[in-house]
Amino acid sequence: MSARLWLLQLSTPLLAILFGALVSSAIILAIGKNPLDVYTLMIRFNVTRADSIASILFKTTPLILAGLAVALSFRAALWNIGVEGQYYIGALCAAVVAFGVKGLPAVVHLPLTMAAAVIGGMAWALVPIALKLRRGAHEVITTIMMNHIAAATILYFLTDVLRDPTQVGTPRVRTPIFEPTARIPSMRGVLDAIGFQIPGYSSLNWLLPVGVALAIALYLLLSRTRFGYEVRAMALNPDAAEAGGIRIGRVQFTMFMLSGAVAGLVGLNDVLGFFGYLDIDFPKGLGFLGISIALLAKNNPLGVIPSALLIAFLDRGAQGVQVFAGVPREVITILQAVIILAIVVAYELLTRYVRNVRKREAGRVVAAAGPVLEPGG
């Protein structure tokens, strides 16, 4: 019985991906292309080209962080749709420390820069959670409004306050180049040492292992500690948890601030690990992808890693099919959304099915035990 349920649980994401692929096939057919050719091209482009693998891994880093940030809030039954804005502000704070502070050794400067990003993310998360707990403002809308405010704030600072003076007069709107001591080092040295030399791998930096380690640490926090138990109890039944002595407001606050802290790191992969300056064109939309990843992973920090890999895989593949098959990469965005929708529906139906099976079994046990309970003659 339980083996069958396990199998069901594992097959749900696969079924959902299949459903997503079917919908995308219909779209690809509608624009006059052969879906099988497109999928073959996509997979070949992704797995046979060495630089694709490096690119997928590079894209995975911020997606793991964004997925974790969203999952942390979702775990606490809070909807942090504001990871997007939180990482803008995180990147902005990091940039200020990265070019503004000079003469520190890297062991001090880099952690300081990352701490600035974390503080920026938390500061931006503080507003919605404080307003929710104190005034009952729904965090979905306040975080989205905070995203808009973050976008305007970063635009203002980049164009009017922090813009590199040597770039004025050019169309380039960016901060001065960061101090080398604030950059996240490339993994190139280690990869060379173990003989893993692929084109494009120099962009891979140490934030990737940090993200993976963070996922594991958060998994342990949520599954093995007292705090993790409180989070689970609260998510299952807030009233019962409260009655059991768990201070719900405090747990929610902590989880939301953790979410904001992790969100602050999302932009660093590109800003500190690759470009070395904060540019007006720095990657956007990672917070929203984080929502997809958290949902795919069912808010499990470990599940975030394969989910982020899948999204990165699709994203890289989208570049391939756009260039080589002339299929707009937006097909992949649609595919992502359809997969997520299919997965949440499948999870929901599965949960209901499992509940019914359990209920029936419990009923049978009770029925079997029934006669014993009757008063004996």
């Binding site: 779209i27 624009i31 909807w79 749709i81 507003v127 307003l131 005034r135 009952g136 403002a137 729904h138 979905v140 809308i141 306040t142 989205i144 409004m145 905070m146 995203n147 808009h148 405010i149 305007a152 704030t153 635009l155 203002y156 009017d160 929203f288 929502i291 997809s292 949902l295 707009p328 937006e330 097909v331 965005t333 649609i334 992502q336 959304a337 359809v338 997520i340 929708l341 949440v344 529906v345 929901e348 139906l349 209901r352």
Partner: protein, 310 residues
């Protein structure tokens, strides 16, 4: 003194009215959805669909066709939300968020397909402007009463019709019952699922229309990101308006006013980026209840299962 006259300038009021329309249409939709007990965070996505199909419809058949296309697209998009949340009982927030993501991708994709570029459609023409017969002769009101879009009048009319439907009709009563206590409504023979479906579909039609207004009368074409979070602002307006159409109209007017004010960059010596986010800041303040406390329908956001204890 000069600032005061700027703040209550008739041209500013006229612009505020124009900017109120898309917010109030979406907010009215939100009222219908949430009165039935379904939170529709996907309004923004539905509005995006409305802007796109509104522009395309207008391009091929004129503004009336544009509005019709946008409403149809809005209903179709809302149907996904209804199916996923009412029939499959998936969390309403998740479904709405995913719909918003889907809408962005879909609009870009369809735009590429039709026009070759991802982010904007060719320019389109709007409705022939109308004037309000009596008001236009009042000298001070000229900017407000002349040269306005017929959609503005339709929107205001819909608000009052919406209020009447919710308060006076059997449908409105049933819809509200389903949002307050679905189990009780069910025992009285009200089809809970049907009512909820209708509420969500109406919200889709209205949000689609809101998008059409933005594309046809405001933007004269589809432009990516032109909704600027108005779907969410509309949700705030609905809450501020205490889940009633006329309340939502008042709240939307407030947002429309700040929206209009934010367009007046030159008169106030503040960086324009900060004026642009004025409506968003007002939204946060409103939600934080600095103005008034309101009570949502009791079963808002709670999936209903026939014959199961909730």
């Amino acid at each position: 003194m000069e600032v005061v006259s700027v703040l209550f300038d008739m041209a500013l009021i006229a612009s505020a009215i124009r900017l109120t329309v898309p917010i109030v249409l979406a907010a009215l939709g939100a009222v219908f959805s949430e009165r039935g007990g379904v939170i529709n965070i996907g309004l923004e996505g539905i509005m995006i669909m409305g802007t796109f199909f509104g522009a395309v419809g207008t391009l091929y058949g004129g503004p009336t066709v544009g509005v019709f296309a946008a409403v149809t697209a809005g209903v179709a998009f809302a149907a996904i939300h209804a199916l996923v949340t009412i029939t499959f009982r998936v969390d309403q927030i998740i479904s709405g968020v995913v719909l918003n993501l889907l809408a962005v991708g879909l609009a870009r994709f369809l735009n590429i397909l039709l026009f070759g570029v991802a982010t904007q459609s060719p320019g389109i023409g709007g409705f022939a402007p109308v004037s309000i017969p009596l008001l236009r002769d009042v000298p001070g009101l000229r900017p407000v009463a002349t040269g306005i879009s017929p959609l503005i009048l339709v929107a205001i009319l819909l608000v009052f019709v919406g209020q009447w439907v919710l308060v006076r009709t059997k449908f409105g009563l049933r819809l509200r019952a389903v949002g307050e206590n679905p189990a009780a409504a069910d025992t009285l023979g009200v089809n809970v699922y049907l009512m909820r479906y209708l509420g969500v579909l109406i919200s889709g039609a209205l949000a689609g229309m809101a998008g059409a207004y933005l594309a046809i009368e405001q933007g004269r074409g589809y432009l990516e990101g032109m909704t600027q979070g108005r779907g969410f602002i509309a949700l705030a307006a609905m809450i501020f308006g205490n889940w009633w159409p006329i309340g939502a109209l008042g709240a939307s007017a407030l947002f429309g006013y700040f929206d209009a004010l934010s367009l007046r960059v030159v008169v106030l010596n503040v960086p324009h980026q900060f004026l642009n986010v004025l409506p968003h800041i007002v939204t946060i303040l409103v939600l934080a209840g600095f103005v008034r406390r309101a009570r949502p329908p009791a079963a808002d956001g709670v999936p209903y299962t026939k014959g199961e204890e909730s």
